[in-house]
């Protein structure tokens, strides 16, 4: 190994610049957390307990976020319950039952994953909400949000599952064939259980994405701050609340929105760590 002092100047400069760039990524994350903390911390110290209450009346100084936290969770959980089984089974089916369809479907699914969330939201407003409205008014609801989110989650969950199955050793399949196991039995007893940690890890990550999704949910959920009494009731999520009220919020109201941003980042952080654990990755 050559010692640093003997390297030409350009190389030493390069090493320095690269180190700075590497530090920058850490700086961005640190900066985001710091800015949110600086804005929200005094408020959290003085009114922290208040955010867990049920009344959101910024005009009267009441900043209870519980119904919106619940709204975020409800919409995301239902979306995941709808999307995950479809995505996992479809990925397995494409790999082991219809390998000839796999490439074209994955290409289409990649395209789906790139469609902007506003476009999914627009589709929800144009088609889904009127359709649910015919059935049970008002249409813009928890269910509409979950259905749109589910459609957005399926492509990513499918790609993650496909990658997880692709990493299984080929000998499992060969052994199964040699034993003349049925493909369904093989999947159920061997392949899916083996890939389960990676699949679940990927799905947990999608849950984080669903919680953080703003536009699509904002456009189809109805945005009423309330505890939903059925899947057909309108709800407002934390993210939608930020997008709706940031434009005119001032003072404590604005600070409360920063506090909800902090909450979102904390929850996604926890989910990410859970996902690392499940996928057996370690990070420092």
């Amino acid at each position: 190994m050559i010692t640093t002092s003997s390297l030409p100047l350009s190389d030493r400069l390069l090493a320095l610049v690269l180190r700075l760039c590497g530090g920058l990524a850490a700086l961005v994350l640190g900066g985001i957390v710091t800015v949110l903390l600086v804005r929200a911390l005094p408020f959290l110290v003085s009114e922290g307990a208040g955010i867990w209450k049920s009344t959101w009346q910024p005009g009267q100084g009441e900043y209870g976020m519980a119904p919106m936290i619940a709204g975020s969770l409800f919409v995301s959980v239902l979306a995941l319950l709808l999307a995950a089984p479809v995505a996992i089974l479809l990925a397995a089916w494409l790999r082991y039952f219809a390998p000839r369809l796999r490439r074209p479907v994955l290409a289409g699914v990649e395209l789906m994953a790139g469609i902007p969330s506003v476009v999914y939201g627009l589709w929800g407003m144009l088609v889904l909400v009127p359709w649910i409205n015919q059935w049970v008014p008002p249409g813009a609801s928890w269910l509409a949000g979950s259905l749109v989110l589910a459609l957005m989650i399926v492509p990513l969950a499918l790609l993650v599952t496909d990658a997880a199955l692709g990493q299984l050793p080929l000998r499992y399949q060969r052994a199964g064939e040699a034993l003349a196991l049925s493909r369904v039995g093989m999947l159920r007893r061997v392949l899916l259980p083996r890939a389960a940690p990676a699949i679940v890890g990927g799905v947990v990550l999608q849950f984080g994405r669903a919680l953080g999704e703003t536009m699509a949910v904002l456009m189809v959920c109805g945005n009423v701050v309330q505890w939903p009494d059925s899947v057909f009731a309108p709800v407002r999520t934390l993210t939608a609340n930020i997008a709706l009220e940031m434009a005119y919020a001032t003072g404590d109201h604005r600070v409360a929105l920063f506090a909800s941003g902090l909450l979102l980042i904390a929850v996604t952080g926890v989910l990410l760590m859970a996902s690392w654990r499940l996928r057996g990755m370690s990070h420092g």
Binding site: A15, L18, C21, F97, L122
Partner: protein
């Protein structure tokens, strides 16, 4: 027997995913049929977007996208080089930095919007401007840019690195003459993916780049991107639906073109760029 049932079940699942997508495309097409024309791309919007086209928005979008990439690509390349060249893949610091990147990728986009508003618009005094929006957006696409460039760089064959060491090439010469040309297709894919992500984004821009419909005169003017336009027309402008759908068709069209570009670049073998 079980296998045959599974075949059918799979087809049903596939239909379950594909039918909504087909419905989405037809709904957008029907809504926008009366509006879409060459004029739609060339005219400026009028009456809060209810009439006219999207020329001003295409200009704002191009500015924001261009600036965003001008910031994100060099920084992303630097960080990717640091990860792939200065650090062994299994070192503590590489793992730690990887964790930071995963976290950045997982941060909800609305939080980037909050941060961009507070830091770029207020603290740095850039206000609601193309510059604030582009900077916030560049931070959001940074992890994607870094990860794809890093992958492309790590894929450069080990033999090249051994040859480099045997010839005692300078690091700078190695990076400029061999590593970057070899990794160029992968880096191009990273740039295209980042551009796609940036084009699709709305929440980051709502309170950084703002809503203004006019053509921007400078980087310090507010400007509205296509995606923000779709949101505003659909939610806040009565009678805006047809033009929201038409804008969505244009935006999705752009993204499909980017997607095809990625496919095209990826098909090219890595070594071809060397010659």
């Amino acid at each position: 027997m079980a296998d045959r049932v599974a075949w059918l079940a799979g087809l049903v699942l596939l239909a379950l995913v594909m039918v909504p997508v087909v419905l989405m495309v037809t709904a957008l097409w029907q809504q926008s049929a009366d509006v879409l024309s060459a004029g739609f791309l060339l005219e400026d919007p009028g009456r809060a977007g209810r009439s006219g086209g999207i020329a001003a928005l295409l200009i704002s979008t191009a500015w924001i996208l261009g600036l965003c990439l001008m910031v994100a690509v060099p920084l992303g390349l630097g960080c990717a080089l640091y990860l792939s060249e200065s650090l062994p893949a299994d070192s503590r610091r590489a793992q730690w930095l990887g964790g930071v990147l995963d976290m950045l990728a997982a941060v909800p986009s609305i939080v980037y919007g909050l941060f961009g508003y507070q830091f770029f618009a207020i603290t740095l005094g850039l206000g609601f401007s193309i510059l604030s929006g582009a900077l916030a957006l560049s931070l959001m696409v940074l992890p994607l840019m870094i990860r794809s460039a890093e992958q492309a760089m790590r894929a450069v064959p080990m033999g090249y690195r051994q040859a480099r060491d045997a010839l005692a090439l300078s690091r700078w010469g190695w990076v400029r003459r061999i590593l970057l040309p070899c990794a160029a297709p992968g880096i191009a894919v990273g740039i295209i993916l980042s551009a796609g992500r940036a084009l699709a984004e709305t929440a980051v821009l709502l309170f950084t780049a703002g809503y203004v419909l006019r053509r921007p005169d400078s980087l310090f003017d507010s400007g509205r991107t296509l995606s923000v336009h779709i949101y505003d027309l659909a939610m806040n402008v009565p009678g805006g639906m047809p033009r929201a759908a038409a804008t969505a068709v244009v935006l999705v069209g752009l993204l499909v073109i980017l997607n095809l570009l990625v496919r095209r670049v990826l098909r090219q073998p890595m070594t071809e760029a060397l010659v």
